[in-house]
Symmetry: C3
Subunit: 612 residues, 3 copies
């Protein structure tokens, strides 16, 4: 062997097989041992073999050696021979720069070796290779790195790292994948540069197109910038592989709002090349028991998110609240979420408390623009969904009308959304769908009921099943309501307050069926509606009273429930009063032992409000 | 190249590599591109390569080209050369018909290429190939189709399709599998023909053998045709890969009935070559909280079934109700199931309401043949299990006796089943097993407790563990019952009704331990039994009263509970009364606020019945 | 062919390819058929092919044939030719003994074929090979046996078998694995011998090093032998791949104790080469709802363990109880566990009942050595953790101090543990962490909250997040406590008992917020603490009364709660009284209808105790 040149090459990390010159001497590191010889690394990823017959001394893993390249075979194997260095040798590093491409260009590079830089958005260990989900400003693709079945490849690369990698682009059935030949995390300096480039361009890509609303609406028009902001945040989450947890009010309006966005996000994921697994890890819809984000809920969400983060290498999620999330009752949970830097976005039509805005990335609420709850969450959700992924428009066009009648909207938007779909759904159809959603959700007990709910909303391409299901659920719901009314009505007590309004009280704990549909709140509402019809034109207040709560429904009385709650809380020592809701519809909680005192005082206050 | 023949061949979909002639010209479609050339399809599944040096023009995916076959290599690679067609060429389609075989013949074709037609009964995507479970009139086998790890092969083929496929039969360790080389869905016309053939033959194969019952019984004999029908339906479900959900009453009789069928179905699945995964996706046993199919239960079953259908390509399930399911209380859930076309089968011994039969495929019930609840569900279940899979007979022979004593059957069948197994189990052994089941199920809280229940029933091949477990559970159950009686008995109130019967009442809410074993119903029963013994020969009625329910136990009073419930419901305005059960054993529900009125009225009615 | 020698060789099970002689005749068994010939086994694992041209007769699977070895190819294929035997042949068995090695030696045998004997500690079927987890006296390693993707290899080998196996040692990324070429279960005789050797050596290896405690403590010193025993049992469980279920009290002390051991066991698993999957199957931490091992809990634990045993080939688990498990209330569950031979180990500081010791392998309890509850479970847990895996010392050094203040220890150990970490955590920091644990566990509802709890305890390498989270939780907890006190205090009733002590009673059911933090027990405690401060120096008793329970807190009264409970139980007929706890802090349960009588009698008894 000729070793006279006295130059030893050190192969740079960007170099590949092609960059090695047969006959040259290289500095290498021992990787491992086999019966037939010693494997060494020429750089971080190019490997060669010193056949047992060419090994000159004993070695340890990781030891540095010098080798002569005898041959590079057709199959890529490199035959090496260990050499002892003469004195006075010189070390030269071989640099091999390659041009980087963007992820969206991969489709044109099938079968080719590429270099690129991207953010690692998920690291999932399969029973075969390790799958790195990469994100850059043009899209997201998977890269597979294989060391050994089920073993984590490149363990030094972590979630959120910016990496430089090279590999071959594979494509079959329209699905692209990079087979990684080499990957390394960028240094902090390089990282900032690449990150800035990617973030900026992703923001741009996530910006929704400016499309007109389905209907004309002053309130919606004013909300447009904030809705676009929310759409952009959600699109960006999907583009950067951040999971979205959608928490929503478990009633028809809330479900409609949430399913709109669910459909849009799933559509977007699919359009980006994702499959069912991608959907399941990137999106979760969860109806909430309470009309706010309970500590128990955020605790569970966080517990799961942290586990997924540790076990499946997933990013921490973004929280999206719909028909929910805009009041101070949400604050304790928001504080918890903020400890973990979870971004929170709210789309709600309940009267908002300003105090919570400091926790939010964005907050769409008609009250911010002089609208009110008549522009329901379901309307907002459907329009938002169109911004996120315009192609789902046809499927969800009837959702806002369902939400409108479900939430008894009296806003002008109601009629417009109804007439938009009047060729396919009558107002009664919409009412039926809304009631079917409420009834089914009751039995789903805060599961999302994914496919059943889609059937009720007629987005499963099975209109007959939709019709049969809704008809059945409406029939069952009405028969349950009838039974409840038949049982409760004989026990309703009637009186007239000093402001002339009729007060009806019913003990919904002992004079109504429990743990069944309709639950106490809806039972009170149904009684109220019936008594309003019987007392046409008169101011009516209905109290559904339980052991430690009362549901308040009213018509024609200019009451302010939040104010009454505050007063009762201050005035009744040891009453444990709290609660809230809208001005004239809400509920109040207290400790059981103070029920009579609280109710008496509440009734007195109600009697002091003016009637319409 | 010789292109003079002017004939271009179009390779039919049934053709394979062997059917290609070197030197001929073929019409092909571009499949994809590699560095070294262009891949094309000669028909839907035979692929060849035009080496880069033989490509004559630029192409797009899916484009039609014409090629000359230069060579077919030993490894199956086809070397092609792109050609331009001369004018006046003629296209001929090459047809390659193969003889189809049946799935049960596969075992004789290992290592051979076969063609067959079958129904797709499941499509499961693994991290490797896509597994199509095929069903024909002779059996069920899996076919593996591989495109790329984790990618769905033949996405156009859907669950329930009739397909034609070819592939190689592989066999190792007695497990057969087809490695699919080609598959396509049949046209509607072909489909009907194949389907009819398969359905007809499967029905025949599913028909159970006519075997005598374990004992002589007039009632069973009369029920035989309907039981055979149920057995056939269940066998067919397994043969055609349709999941079975078994909902059953959560008491000893119900568990025994259900585990009999569980054992038979698992046995049948194994005999058909299925493994643990097959078992888990084809069969689920679920004890029901209520003595009927609650809306909440059907909602959950449906939610899960739809998810499995979408995610794992499973068929929608069949519902089997045991010791449960024959009354009008089941109707709302049956209606829901019917929207999704789920077949429902009932095996029950409660007094049936005719109104539900319209929802059922089959309904085994002793009341249909002048029998009564003395022929218990556990007896029916064990005999049915033998029809489904005769080989389990020895294992479950003692089940009917356990059910008989557990449900206090007084039918003649009781003694016959007891004497059948008297060499191995005494009547006391059976009582112990039944009590152990009741006690354990209470703590299992409506989980099926799969392996523990098998230990209690001594079908886990571990008789020592069985004995120790049953002894322990019986001891714990009895000590809990003693404690409950000691607490409750001092509070029992005694009176004599005008028909001379003794009425005992106990408030099981405030004078018994709650949320523990025995629960209120069993507590009432134990008190009743004890007071019956103390009042030997006299008519006795025991009411276990809760805040909104009462449990009724009686002896020697010819009462009719369902009739009393109907009357109370009509007579007591706002009482919210409902309930039911057997004639002389049952329960009644009402709203808490009307408890005193309802109980007073109930007691009066009881006093009006004649005593024995 | 030359068949004249008339000797037929039978290849022994220890033989390999190398031991076969070309030209000799062997007895073989038919394994299967292929197009091109018949595969046969020369012994249990060496396979050869009789090419179709060399097959002389028709055969069935399993049939015995005789073959001549024509050739052994470079790739290991053996070419055979079927021969008919001449009369008078002789059969000779070829024995091939190999030297066995130990599992810890595998790392020096990479790329080599080895023989070894070991216990099968888990059998897991992957979608690829079957993974046998092997254990011997030197460690645990995985062996992969492959027959067909997803098929169980060596189905005759069962969990717990002692096996002899040979295979090649593979190593990549520092992870060893044996690729099994042959495996067989040892005969009973061989088994005993090997088992004894392994058990004995494993016991020795599991013995913890004798390290000094973190602090000087007489009580700990006396407990050392029993703690070492527990450490050895747990280390042995990990070494032999037996899952550990850790059930613990769901308060700060219990969590601290349990997380200490969790950290140690995970550390040990990792040090032994295990990964996240190993962790998840070998260790589960489960907070218990009740302060003892409820029947419902053991039932669930057992149900899951049996399923894992059947489905994933796991060993039945060991139960470790911490801050929990030492009283007779645990007995019913222990009895259940014993039916399944589950070993149980207790580390507790509650006053122990001797009656349970017969169920336990070991029991660490300060009361056994004249200590008391002031040496808390958290202290014991942290010291035990150091014995199990000394390397975690630094991480958990502050745990005992948190436990001490959390459980209000007044033992001398409290100050020592506090001063040990005073440079990093003040006493107030420890109090905050303890309160944060209590508050968070309330919302976790008996989930272990794995990662969140680690953040609270500052063992997640994120001190900022730790600090923010603890601050937030403390603030929320205190504000919830303030609200509860504000609501309850006005309803507290005051009286003076005949022994001069102040009795405060509060109905925590109707005068406190329910289903929120603080729950009734803590609410009573907070009220008691506040009233103690207001009544400095006086004896104070506080009763928090619910519908069927009362929480007892006291200061300065020498009461004996367990004794009172026993007396009330005997004296009040139909009271259903039970309960317990420490001498001066505890709770009592009764049936709701007897509340007034029980409370009256309880108060009278309290008034009879001397005050300090």
């Amino acid at each position: 062997m000729d070793n006279s040149k006295n130059i030893v090459y050190r192969l740079g990390s960007g170099c590949e097989l092609d960059d090695i010159v047969v006959g040259n001497t290289y500095e290498v590191k021992v990787q491992g041992f086999a019966k037939f010889g010693t494997f060494v690394y020429l750089n971080n990823h190019v490997k060669g073999l010193i056949h047992i017959s060419n090994v000159k001394s004993d070695h340890k893993e990781g030891e540095t050696l010098y080798v002569h390249v005898n041959n590079i075979r057709d199959n890529g194997n490199i035959d090496l021979e260990e050499v002892a260095l003469k004195e006075g040798y010189e070390i030269k590093t071989v640099q091999c720069q390659k041009i980087s491409i963007r992820l969206s260009d991969l489709k044109n590079k099938v079968g080719r070796n590429v270099n690129l830089q991207a953010e690692v958005a998920q690291i999932k260990q399969t029973s075969g290779p390790t799958i790195f989900t990469l994100v850059d400003e043009t899209g997201s693709e998977n890269a597979a790195a294989f060391i050994e079945a089920g073993k984590r490849a490149y363990p030094e690369v972590e979630l959120g790292d910016m990496v430089s990698l090279s590999g071959e682009v594979m494509m079959r059935n329209g699905q692209l994948q990079i087979e990684v030949s080499y990957m390394e995390a960028l240094t902090d300096e390089e990282k900032e540069q690449v990150k800035e480039r990617i973030v900026k361009a992703t923001e741009e890509r996530a910006r929704p197109k400016d499309i007109p609303f389905l209907i004309e609406s002053e309130v919606l028009q004013k909300l447009k910038p904030e809705m676009q902001k929310v759409a952009q945040i959600l699109r960006k989450a999907i583009f950067t592989n951040q999971p979205v947890i959608l928490r929503h009010h478990a009633d028809a309006d809330g479900i409609v709002a949430a399913v709109s966005v669910e459909k849009a996000i799933i559509g977007l994921i699919r359009a980006e090349g994702g499959d069912q697994d991608t959907e399941n890890h990137l999106f979760k819809r969860a109806p909430s028991k309470a009309p706010f984000y309970e500590i128990e809920d955020v605790t569970r969400d966080l517990d799961f998110a942290l586990r997924d983060n540790v076990r499946f290498g997933q990013k921490m999620p973004l929280i999206l609240m719909m028909d929910n999330g805009s009041t101070e009752e949400d604050e304790p949970s928001y504080k918890v979420a903020k400890v973990y830097d979870l971004p929170i976005v709210v789309v709600d039509h309940h009267h908002p408390d300003e105090s919570i805005d400091k926790y939010l990335e964005a907050h769409v609420n008609p009250y911010h623009v002089d609208g009110d709850f008549g522009v329901t969450a379901g309307m907002l959700g459907a329009e938002l969904a169109r911004m996120i992924y315009p192609d789902i428009e046809d499927e969800i066009k009837h959702f806002p009308a369902v939400a409108a009648v479900g939430d008894r909207s009296e806003a002008p938007e109601r009629e417009k959304y109804l007439s938009l779909i009047s060729d396919k759904y009558s107002e009664d159809d919409c009412k039926d769908i809304a009631l079917a959603l409420d009834y089914e959700q009751f039995w789903l007990r805060f599961n999302d009921g994914k496919e059943i709910v889609k059937d009720i909303l007629n987005v499963n391409n099975n209109p007959d099943r939709h019709k049969n299901l809704v008809n059945l659920l409406v029939q069952e719901a009405n028969s349950a309501i009838d039974e409840q009314l038949k049982t409760s009505l004989p026990h309703v007590k009637d009186s007239v307050l000093k402001n002339g309004s009729h007060l009806f009280t019913i003990d919904v704990e002992i004079f109504a069926h429990r743990f069944t549909f309709p639950p106490p709140g809806k039972t009170s509402g149904e009684i109220h509606d019936l008594l309003c019809r019987k007392n046409e034109g008169k101011p009516v207040v209905t109290l559904g009273i339980g052991p430690d709560f009362a549901v308040i429904r009213s018509r024609g009385v200019l009451m302010n429930i939040p104010q009454m709650v505050r007063e009762l809380r201050d005035e009744i020592e040891g009453g444990g009063v709290n609660g809230g809701g809208h001005l004239v519809v809400g509920s109040i909680k207290f400790v059981e032992g103070m029920r009579d005192i609280v109710i008496k005082s509440l009734v007195e206050k109600i009697g002091n409000f003016t009637t319409e």
